[in-house]
Symmetry: C2
Subunit: 338 residues, 2 copies
Amino acid sequence: MVTLAEVAKRARVTAATVSNVLRNREKVKPETVERVLAAINELGYRPNLNARALAEGRSPTLALMLSNITNPFYPEFVLAAERAARKAGFFLMVCNTDDNADIGRAYLNQIAGTLAEGMLVMNTDIEINELCVSAMNNAPILLAMWEHPEAPPALPCVAVEFAKAGALAARHLLELGHRKIGMLVGDGSGGLQDARHDGFAAEVARAGLRIDAAAVMRTRDSIDAGYAACVQLMAAQPDLTAIFATNDLMAIGAVQALITLGRVVPNDVSVIGITDIQLARQVHPPLTTVAIDTTAIAELSVTCLIEQIERPRQPPKMVIAPPPVLIVRASTRAPARG
Amino acid sequence: MVTLAEVAKRARVTAATVSNVLRNREKVKPETVERVLAAINELGYRPNLNARALAEGRSPTLALMLSNITNPFYPEFVLAAERAARKAGFFLMVCNTDDNADIGRAYLNQIAGTLAEGMLVMNTDIEINELCVSAMNNAPILLAMWEHPEAPPALPCVAVEFAKAGALAARHLLELGHRKIGMLVGDGSGGLQDARHDGFAAEVARAGLRIDAAAVMRTRDSIDAGYAACVQLMAAQPDLTAIFATNDLMAIGAVQALITLGRVVPNDVSVIGITDIQLARQVHPPLTTVAIDTTAIAELSVTCLIEQIERPRQPPKMVIAPPPVLIVRASTRAPARG
DNA sequence: CTGAAAGCGCTAACAT
DNA sequence: ATGTTAGCGCTTTCAG
C-alpha cells in the first residue's frame, strides 16, 4: 500500500504538504502541487479512508438500514438515496436486516458512529426508543418514512401522508361509483399500515358509507400474500366490485388472483394500490395507484440526515414529504350496472 | 464517544488488557474480565471500527458493486451475499454504479483496499483490464457472475453456465414441438447475453433446425424493453409459437405484450426465460424458466473472495456455479395444431 | 496475567 | 509556502 509519506518523499515535501494538496487547492505553490500530483500518479497513491476518518473524527459514509432489500420498493429508494448521498459527497452503505431485529441492533451498534456518520432507518422491527438510545450514544438516526405526520416521533424523520394516500384511493373508487369495496391491509415489518387504512376508511365514512369489517383482510405485504388474501376475500365476499390494497405489491397479487378466479380487471373488479412502484406500470393491466414520491423522500431523508450530522443536538425535526398523487391506470373503472 | 482508554481507566487496567478481553477469551484473569466487561457495559462502549481497521490493517467489510439495484435480480443476490458475508463476520457494502462506469471507478478507487477488504463485481461497464489494475494495487476483486466458463478471465470468478441454460430452454421448447421460435436477447450493462443465445442456438442446430435471424431481437434487459421488443417481434413474425428470452425480465414483458396483443399464453404462444427471479413465480401465468441458483452463486462468490483475501497473490481461480435447472410452469405448452 | 510503548496513515494546529 | 509535531482509537509486540 502506498502511503502519504511515500508520496511526500518522492515529491520532496512533507506529508502535511501532500495532505494540503489533496484538499486545499490554495496555500501550496503551483509548482509543488505539480510535483505532488505527479508523485501521486506515478505511485498510484490512494488515500486510506480509515486513517482519514480516524484523524478527522468523521467518515464520509451514510448507512441505510432496511428490513429486506427484496421488497421491490426498497431498491427504488436505495437508488435515489445513493444518488443523493453521492451528490453530497457521501457513500451509502446498505444494511439489510433480513427482517431480524437482532441483526438490526448489531448494525446499529457497530456501524452507527464509526463506519457511518449517520443512519437512515426504514421500517425495521426495532423500537423507536431503542433507536433513540443509539442516537444518543452514537451517530444521528433519521426515520426515513414515518407514517404518522400527526404524531412526530422523538427522532428526526421524513413523514409521508399515508392517510391522505388512503383518502385519495377511497375518493377515486367512490367517484367511480363503487360501494362494495374490499380491503387488503399490509403488515410489513414496521407494523400495520394503519394510516393508509384509516385514511381510506375516514373518506368512505365521509361519504356516508362504511366498509364491512368482514371485507378487510390483514396480511403480509407481498405479492404472494396479496394473492392469497384476495382469493380468501373473494370467497367470503363474492360481490365486491373493488379492492383497495394498502400497498402495490398486494394490489398486484390481488390482480393476479382475480384473473385466476376468472374475474376480469377492471371490468368485474377494480383494484387500486399505494406507492407506485415501477412494477405497477409494468403489470397487465397497469395498476391504478396512489403515488408516493420515493425519490423526493429519499432526497429529503439524506438532506435532513446530513443536516443533523453537521448540526448535532438539534431538536428532532419532522419534514413532510410531497403529498401523494392519484395515478389512474387501467386497473380501475366504474362498476358494471346491476 | 467512549474510548478504550476510558474503559481501561474505569476497570483499573490498561488499554491493552481491555483489548485482550475484547478478543482473546484466554490470558486475562476471569476476575479482571469481569471488571472490564462491567466497565464496557456501564460506559456503553463501542469499538471504533475505523481505528481498529487502521491498527489491524484490514477491515471487516466486503463491497459488492452492481450496475443498478433496481433490476430485480440484484436484490436477491444482495440478500444472499449479505447473509453469507455476515456469517463469515463481514459487513457487506453495496455500491450502486447507476450504470455509470465513472461512478464504478470512483468506488473502486476509494473503497477497494481501504473501506472494504475486497470487492465482488457484478456486470458493470468497467473493462476487465481496468479491474485487474485495481486488483493489483488494492484489494482483491472477484467477478461474481462470469458468463464464459470456457474462457477463464484474469481475475478470480464464479462462472455460470449460461450456455447450458440456453440449451435447456431450447430443448424444452423443441420437445414441446415448437419450431417457429422467436428470441429476445438482452443487452444489459455488462454486454450482450451471448452465451445464453449461443447455447440456445446450438441446441436448436443440433436438432437440425435453425432460428430465423429475423426472429431475433436484441434489446435492453428489462420488462419494458421486453414488452416493446415482443410487440415488434410479433408484428414482424406473427406466426411464432414460442419466445425465448435470455432473461426473465424480458420474458415477463413479452408475456404482458402477448396478452395485450390478444394472444393467449401459453395456448397461442409459449414464453420461457432464464434466471428464475422471484417475480417469475408471481406473474400470471407463472413463468417457465431456467433457474440460476442465485443463492449458491452469491455464497460461492463471498467464500472465494474471502479466500482471496486470506491468501492473496494466488493465481486467479474460477469456480463453476451449480448447473442451471429447467423449471416448468404455466407459460409454455405444446403448440396448437395447424 | 498485565502494563508500557510503538505505530497504523492521516489531519491539523502551530512554527518557521 | 512548507515543515514539525501531536494526536485520532486501537492493536500488538515486548517487558515485567
